[in-house]
Every structure is written in C-alpha cells, then in structure tokens.
C-alpha cells in the first residue's frame, strides 16, 4: 500500500509540511493582530481558514484518484 499509494502518501506529507509551517511562527505572527475580517478576529479566521484548507487538500489528494480502492 505504501508503494502503491506512494504518490498519495508523498502529497499528504507535503500537506503536513505546509500545515506545520502555516501553524507556526512566523506565519501565526503575521496574522496575530487585533483586527477583524468580516467581523471575525483575524487570527481566529486565519487558523480556521488554513485548517479547513488543509482538510480540503487532504480530501482532494485522497479522493481524487483511487487506482485501487
């Protein structure tokens, strides 16, 4: 399965690295401001937006093409 889905596994690892970076300093610092986006605190909006985006990417990577389900 590792071998078969290796590309999928590597893409997911990419998502992991992206998430790890976006959920850490200095990205968090960039959005750590007392401002709001459409009434939502910026940091809160940022975290949830990134979070949802990551989940979306994971779903896309996994469900996109399943050569052998």
């Amino acid at each position: 399965m590792i071998a078969r889905g290796s590309l999928t596994a590597q893409r997911l690892a990419g998502v992991f690295l992206l998430g790890w970076a976006l959920f850490n300093y200095p990205f968090l610092y960039l959005f750590n401001r007392a401002e709001t986006v459409a009434g939502i605190p910026m940091l809160y909006a940022y975290v949830f937006a990134v979070w949802a985006a990551l989940i979306g990417m994971m779903a896309w990577v996994i469900e996109r093409r399943r050569d052998k389900p």
């Binding site: 399965m1 590792i2 071998a3 889905g5 999928t8 596994a9 997911l12 690892a13 998502v15 992991f16 998430g19 790890w20 959920f23 850490n24 300093y25 968090l28 610092y29 750590n32 401001r33 007392a34 709001t36 459409a38 009434g39 939502i40 605190p41 940091l43 809160y44 975290v47 949830f48 979070w51 949802a52 990551l54 989940i55 994971m58 779903a59 996994i62 469900e63 399943r66 389900p69």
Partner: protein
C-alpha cells in the same frame, strides 16, 4: 421542570440505547455482516479522541487562553496527513502479529519482552487514570448542575460529600458494568469489539450534534451570529485579549509543543490505539479517515470560542466555571430540553472515553501485567487448569472495575485541585513517553529492548517529577516547598524549572525534559549494546513489515520441534477448546491438510499458534506459554545476523534467481526433449507411411509389369504366360496380406482391437497352429516337432490372436530353414506363473545387431536375393504387440549359422483374473 428522576431515566435510557447498538453490532459481526465495515464508522469512532475534556474543557481553556486550545486538534489534523506512513504501518504490524494493545506492540517489537510490556502498562495506567477521573468528574458535575435547574449552582467540593452519597461513585460503578458488558462479553482471539465500536461511533455523532446544537444556540440564538459575539467581546478588554496571542516566544513555543503533544497522543493514547489500530477492520478505511477525522475535529471546535465568549459575557463575575458554559448557558436561557441534550452529549463524551480506555487498559493489565506474573508463579497450578478463558475474562473484568475505582479514588483525592484541561495534558505527556520506543522501533532496526526500557523509564521519571508530582503539590498532598525548591532544596532541581529552564509553560517544560531524557536514553543504550536474537528478529519483522510476507520471515527465525497434540490443548486452555479447535481446523484447511491429524507441526504452525495465543494474552505471555510446549533450538546470534544481513538478503535473492534459472533450464531442456520426441515420432510415422508405400508398390510393380507384358504381347508362350500369371496371382496375395496386416497393426496401435479374453490351453493353440501350417512344412520338407507337457495351467488371452502369433512364428521359421535338412521345434514349458513357448529352427540365424530390429516394422530378416522372405515385415511386430498386450514378453536368441529361437511368455490365469471374467 427537570427532576432528578427524569435525568436519571434519560441517562439510563441513553446507556440502554448504546448497549442495544453494541448488541446489534456484535450480532451482525457474528453473522459476518459487519455494520462497522465502512470508513465513516471508523472515522467517527476515532473521534473518541474528543472526551469531556473537549466537550466541556475546551470552552474553559478558550475562556482563559483564547485560541490556545486549538493545537490539541490541529496536531491530530497534521499527523493524519502522515498516517499513510505511520498509522498504516502500525496497523499492518498489529494485524500481522495479532497485537492487542500499545503495551503489547512495544513489548512485541523489543523481543516480546514481559518487562517492557509491564512497564508500558504501568506508565499508561498511571498516566491515564487521572484522565478517567476527569471524565467521572465531568459527568458527575454536569449531572449535579443539571439537577439544580433552573438555578445555576456550582457543585460542592466532592470531598465534602460522604462517599456513599457521592453520585460519582455510582456513575463509576454503572460505567464499569457497562464496560464489562461491552468489552468482555466473550474472549475474542482477534481482540476486537465490533459492537463497542458501533456504539462509540454513535456516541461521537451524539456529542457532535449536541455540541453544534449548543454552539448554534449561543451564536445565533442568544447572540446575532459570530460577528455579534466578537464585536461585543472586543469591547471588553479582558475578552479582547483572547482574540490574539501574546507575542512572545513562550506562547509560540507552547503552541508548537501542544501541537506536537497532540500529534503523539492521538496515536499513543491507549484508547486511540484500541480504536484506530486494534479495532480497525480494513486498512483502506484509514484513507478516508485521514480527512474525515480532521473534519470532525474542525466542526466540533467551530463554536468553542463563541461559547466561551458568550459565557464570559453572560457570567462576567466569574461565579460560573467556564468549563460548564456549554451546560449553563442553555440553562440560563431556560432551554431545558437543550440543556438535557447537552448533558446527554457530555455523557456520551465521558462514557465513550471511559469504556474504550478501560477496555484498552484492562487488556494491557491482563496481558502484560497479571498474566506474565501468574505464569511466572510456580506455586500456582496454572498448568493444571483445563480452560483458562474464564480466568482471563475474570482478570479483565476485575481490571475494569479496579481501574474505574482507581479513577474514582483519584477524583475524590484530587478534587478541585486542578482544572480539567490540566489533567488532560498530564495524560498526554505521559503517553508521549511511548513515542521514541514505538516510532523508533517501527523505523529503526537498531533500537533495543534495553534502550526502550531505559528511554521509557527515564522519560516517565522526568514526567513524574516535572508534571505529576507538582500537580500533587498544587493539590496540597506534597509540601508546597517542593514546587519552589525541588528535592533537598537544590534549586537546580526545581521541578518546573529544571536546571533553571524557565519561560515555558509547565507542559512544554515537562515535555521537553522528559522527551529529551527519553530519546537520549533510548538512543544511547540502544547504540551501546546490540540487542539479543529475539529482539533483532522482531525488529526486522516490524521495520520491514511491508517488505516481507509474514509467514516467510517469521518462521525463518524459528527452529525446533512441536506436537500438534501439545499446541492445541494449550491454545484451548486460553481460548476455550471449541474455539481453539475451530481455529486449528481453519488453519489445517488453509494448508491443505484434511484433518488435524495430518497437520504437520512445523514452524508455520507454531507461529500460528503463538499469534493466536497472543491475541488473547499478549505477545510476551504467548511466547512464554508456547515455548513451554515447544522444543526450540535457539538460533545463534550469527545465524540471525546472517538472516538480517543485507548482504545475505542479496545472497538469498541471487540464490533464488539461480534456483529459478536452473528450474527454467531444466524446463526448457524438458521441452526440447519433448519436442525431439515429437519429431522422432513424426519421423517414425513418416517412415512408416513411406515403408507402407514402398511395400505396397513393390508387388504392384510386378503385377503391372506382367499385366502389361501379357497385354501387349498376346503371342507369349503358354508356359511363360502361366508363369507370369502365377507371379501376378502370388503378388496379389502378397498385396492382400500386406493390406490386412497394415490394418491390423494400425488397429492394435490405436487400441481399437476388440480383444477376447478367455481361458486358453496353450497346448491346443500350438497344436492347431501346427495343423494349419502342416502343408507348408510338407511342401518344403521341413520337420516340425512339438514338445508339450501333459498338463499346463491356462492363460487368459485371445485365442485367435495367439494362433496368429504361433502361425507367424512357424511360417517365419519354415521360410528361413533349408528345405530337406531343416527342422523346427516347438517347446511349451512353465516357469512360475508364466508359460513359455520356444520356436527353434536350424536356419541361418540372425546377427546380434539385427536381433532387436526384427521386431521393428518392415525390418525383415535375410539379406540375399535367395533368402528374400515373402513376408510383409509386420508379422513379428504384430506378434510382439499381441504378447505384450496379454502381459507377456517376446524375444529372439540366435547365433548366426546355428539357427534362431523365438520365444514368448504369457502369464498364467490368476484367480483374480479368472474371477474378473
């Protein structure tokens, strides 16, 4: 009005529904129609991660730290992206080795070590029991708070309530009963509880819906959407501070370390290992869960901050614990149905965690702590017990009750000392100590048992000192001075500022030092000394789990002898005789044996038996039990190293390649030979056709030639004419004979002869044949004599065919001998159960090199014009075929110049043959 009995009835009814689901799940599993065999149920059941700590505690933590609670859920989201590397491997290893718990996993990896299994169990119990007490407390508190509806009253300090009036005790006991019913109804060799998983998935759904419901109620019911809440909160300076981080390294550090901690915990917590690994029915479910599980986490966290802010706005004076906002906000707005639903959701979160965690812990306690202990006791007559499966269940049930009572005791003792979130993180940090041994062991073959023990002991000790003991100190069980001055007053050893490390929160601080000690010790000790034989082989099996097929390798490390008769009763004692027998029979069928008696007790079977047992009592104990009945020859370290050695793998591989190419060579040689045989047969057939053609054309040539001569020249003399017509006639007869014999031969060879099989007196056959050829002998003046015994046994054959053989031999003989001086002698004799016929003549004889060839088709004896026989060249081959058909043999003995003797034998009619007619 919510009365006490309503809440109690609802709680019991809810638990009843759970039990019904579990019951149906188990029933369906027994019928092979699993209801949990889909990725959605799997993902939902993974959400057992979200306990009351999430359900009530997240809001509390958000109320004090803003978004600081989120790493607990972001961590699992991130690690899910690596599941195809980590989790999949854990699942594969677990299935391959029938591992029952995380303690079993680590013990198994490091040479099925009982010490390590026990150590992991102790760490898990110590680390997780506070977490269980937290659930008890949450359920109890929510019950108490709801009981006072519509007043909002914080529960009194539990220590103030006598034990027997403490509803928490009863909750613990009820949950213990339920857990026993869910988890230990019967002992399953696969250690899976499908019904429980179904119930847990349902609970996850209930708590999600309940939490989202209350979130929506607060956000859109009490307030006017997200924007409204945030805007109102922004006006309160204390709340506005929750919207951002403090911009210092410590906060970012905490964020990162919590993320890391959550990443480890979601894999290493005993309940997560149980649900995610042990209960996994299909590896492919993991794929969908990779995004479904994080989706669950983000949804359940969406309303945490709004609820926290809403609660803080509603109860600004701090009289209401933020941990209870989920429940108290609906209560404050007189929404009793929602409050009851929220309570049920909290009950779901609590019971789900408690049931799975105690099942996992009880399995560990039983398999890795109690059983190894019992097996070691010489005084305890374990070997005399016929069926230990009852004992195993008893131990597990006892462990469940003990763990829950331990949790209750901790709850009574710890009381209100610590916020809910604090206890959760202490547990997380404890199980994080398994990470180096487990993850290292999965990817690094060099990790040894000693290294793992050293790492876990070191990490656990540091965790105790920097996190658990300080929490005791804060609860007042240890002198407060301990917190500030450490042991012996050495400032450097101050528990939460170890070696002067400050500027971190306590969890980060503890995590840093404990993992540093753990990883350091693990690496240092592992590298200092190589592991022994068993752990080295297990290391290979774990690390290369995807590379090897299980049977091929695990048996490679085993050498010894065993008896099926020893193994079966042993397994039967733990699994129950019927279940063990069924499992062995399945194995036998799968390996092509008709019954257990045909089963060969080889390395494969011993491995099968051991893993079967491992499913019930854990790898380490199974190892001990199996080796008690198996005579095992220990493998030398050198042998194991040879097996493991990369080079030897290459050697083995090239040996395989050589072997294969040898096989191919043999196969191609066989093919070539077969092909040559085919061609030879083809050539023979061709020769036969060509010979037949030749033999047919020869008489035809004479016939045609003389016919044309007579036709063209009518004035041929009468004498000449008569001579020519005589030749034509003779050649015609020859042609007829030839055609008949060719057809005869073809019939014999194609097996289309209708053989008569009767009892025959060979004397009669010989006499008849002699009579038939009498004229021939008289014409050529050759003497024929018969030597026949007075009485001979009968042979079973075809009379006409035997006469054909005799006629052939006699006419051949008479053809070759000289007229007048020639003689032919026929002799019949018996030797054993064969009769023998010899036809001897005093003709020219046959040269040795021709003796075999006379039996070939169209190979006639004689070489001169004068001795050209008037045969077809088919008589002897046909005769030999006939004799051989009846089980006899035909051959010729001859000395050139001194005549020839053709002989054949035929078997005497046996009673069996006679009876068969």
């Amino acid at each position: 009005m919510l009365q006490g009995w309503v809440i109690v009835v609802c709680s019991i009814a809810y638990l009843g529904v759970l039990f019904a689901i579990a019951w149906v799940g188990d029933k369906r599993a027994d019928q092979g129609r699993s209801i949990i065999a889909n990725p959605y149920i799997y993902a939902l059941s993974l959400a057992v991660y979200c306990t009351t700590w999430t359900y009530y505690g997240s809001v509390g933590r958000a109320a004090s730290t803003g978004i600081g609670f989120l790493p607990i859920y972001i961590g699992p989201t991130l690690i899910a992206a690596l599941w195809l590397f980590v989790m999949l491997k854990i699942i594969r290893i677990t299935k391959t080795h029938r591992i029952t718990s995380i303690a079993d996993f680590i013990a198994s990896r490091y040479g099925k070590s009982q010490l390590l299994g026990g150590l992991v169990t102790v760490v898990a119990v110590v680390g997780v029991v506070p977490y269980i007490s937290l659930q008890l407390k949450a359920v109890s508190n929510s019950f108490t708070i709801l009981l006072h509806y519509p007043d909002i009253v914080m529960p009194a300090h539990s220590a103030a309530v006598p034990v027997l009036q403490d509803n928490t005790l009863y909750i613990a006991l009820i949950l213990a009963t339920f857990t026993i019913l869910f988890g230990t109804r019967h002992l399953d060799a696969t250690e899976r509880h499908e019904g429980m998983v179904a119930a847990i998935a349902f609970e996850s759904l209930v708590k999600l819906v309940a939490f989202v419901a209350v979130g929506a109620f607060v956000t859109f019911g009490i307030y006017d959407g997200f924007g409204d809440i945030f805007e109102r909160a922004a006006r309160v300076p204390r709340l506005a501070a929750l919207m951002t981080f403090e911009n210092d390294a410590a906060h970012y550090g905490s964020w990162t370390s919590l993320t890391l901690l959550a990443m480890l915990s979601v894999t290493l917590l005993p309940r997560q290992f149980q649900i995610g690994v042990v209960e996994n029915v299909n590896e492919n479910h993991l794929r969908k869960a990779i995004w479904l599980f994080p989706l669950y986490l983000i949804v359940i966290n969406l309303f945490v901050l709004p609820i926290a802010l809403g609660g803080l706005l509603r109860f600004p004076d701090g009289g209401v614990d933020a941990d209870t906002f989920v429940l108290t906000l609906p209560m404050a707005h007189r929404n009793e149905l929602l409050a009851l639903f929220v309570y049920i959701g909290g009950l779901s979160a609590g019971t789900g965690m408690i049931i799975v965690e105690t099942i996992a812990l009880s399995t560990m306690v039983c398999n890795d702590l109690v059983m190894p202990g019992l097996l070691r006791q010489r005084w305890w007559p374990l070997h005399r017990e016929r069926d230990l499966s009852g004992l195993l269940l008893g131990i597990r049930r006892g462990a469940i009750v003990a763990i829950l009572l331990l949790g209750y005791t901790y709850f009574r003792a710890a009381g209100e000392a610590y916020a809910l979130v604090g206890i959760g993180l202490i547990s997380f940090a404890a199980v994080a100590q398994f990470a180096p041994a487990l993850i290292g062991g999965m990817f690094w073959k060099g990790g040894t048992r000693r290294g793992a023990v050293a790492g876990i002991v070191a990490g656990f000790a540091v965790w105790l000192y920097t996190l658990l003991l300080p929490s005791f100190a804060k609860s007042g069980w240890l002198p407060a001075a301990f917190l500030h001055s450490g042991v012996f007053g050495i400032e450097l050893l101050e528990p939460q500022r170890l070696f002067g490390l400050s500027g971190m929160d306590e969890t980060t601080h503890s995590l840093f030092w404990s993992l540093a000690a753990n990883i350091g010790a693990y690496l240092w000790v592992s590298l200092a000394r190589r592991g022994d034989v068993v752990e080295t082989s297990q290391a290979t099996l774990f690390v290369d789990v995807f590379r090897h097929t299980q049977a091929q390798v695990s048996t490679q490390f085993w050498r010894g002898s065993a008896q099926v008769g020893d193994l079966l009763p042993l397994i039967g004692r733990f699994l129950g005789p019927a279940r063990a027998r069924a499992a062995f029979e399945r194995y036998a069928r799968a390996h092509g044996a008709d019954s257990l008696d045909d089963l060969h007790a080889d390395a494969d079977l011993v491995h099968f038996a051991e893993s079967l047992l491992a499913g019930a009592i854990g790898a380490a104990s199974a190892r001990v039990m199996v080796s008690s009945v198996v005579k095992e020859e220990p493998l030398g370290m050198d042998e194991v190293m040879n097996i493991l050695d990369e080079a030897s793998q290459v050697r083995a591989y090239s040996r395989q390649v050589e072997q294969k190419s040898r096989e191919l060579e043999i196969a191609s040689r066989d093919l070539r030979e077969a092909n040559e045989r085919m061609r030879e047969l083809d050539r023979l057939k061709d020769d036969f056709v060509s010979s037949v053609t030749h033999e047919l054309r020869t008489p035809l040539t004479s016939i045609r030639a003389f016919s044309e001569i007579l036709l063209e020249d009518p004035r041929t003399e009468l004498a000449e004419r008569k001579r020519f017509l005589g030749i034509i006639s003779a050649e015609s007869q020859r042609l007829t004979r030839l055609v008949n014999q060719v057809l005869d031969m073809a019939k014999i060879e194609s097996g289309k002869v209708d053989w008569q099989n009767t009892e025959i007196d060979l004397r009669v056959v010989i006499e008849q044949s002699a009579a038939a050829t009498q004229a021939l002998f008289r014409d050529r003046k050759v003497a024929l004599s018969l030597e026949l015994p007075d009485e001979v046994p009968l042979v079973c054959a075809d009379r006409d065919r035997l006469i054909q053989v005799m006629l052939n031999l006699l006419s051949n003989a008479v053809k070759f001998v000289e007229p007048a001086t020639g003689w032919v002698r026929v002799r019949l004799s018996g030797a054993g159960d064969m009769l023998r016929v010899d036809v001897e003549d005093n003709g020219p004889g046959i040269r040795a090199e021709d003796q075999a060839r006379v039996f070939e088709k169209f190979r006639q004896g004689g070489d001169a014009l004068t001795s050209k026989p008037q045969g077809t060249g088919l008589g002897l081959p046909i005769s030999r075929q006939i004799v051989e058909h009846f089980g006899g043999r035909m051959w010729v003995e001859s000395e050139p110049g001194r005549g020839a003797t053709f002989s054949f034998t035929l078997p005497v009619c046996g009673p069996a043959r006679a009876g068969a007619q």
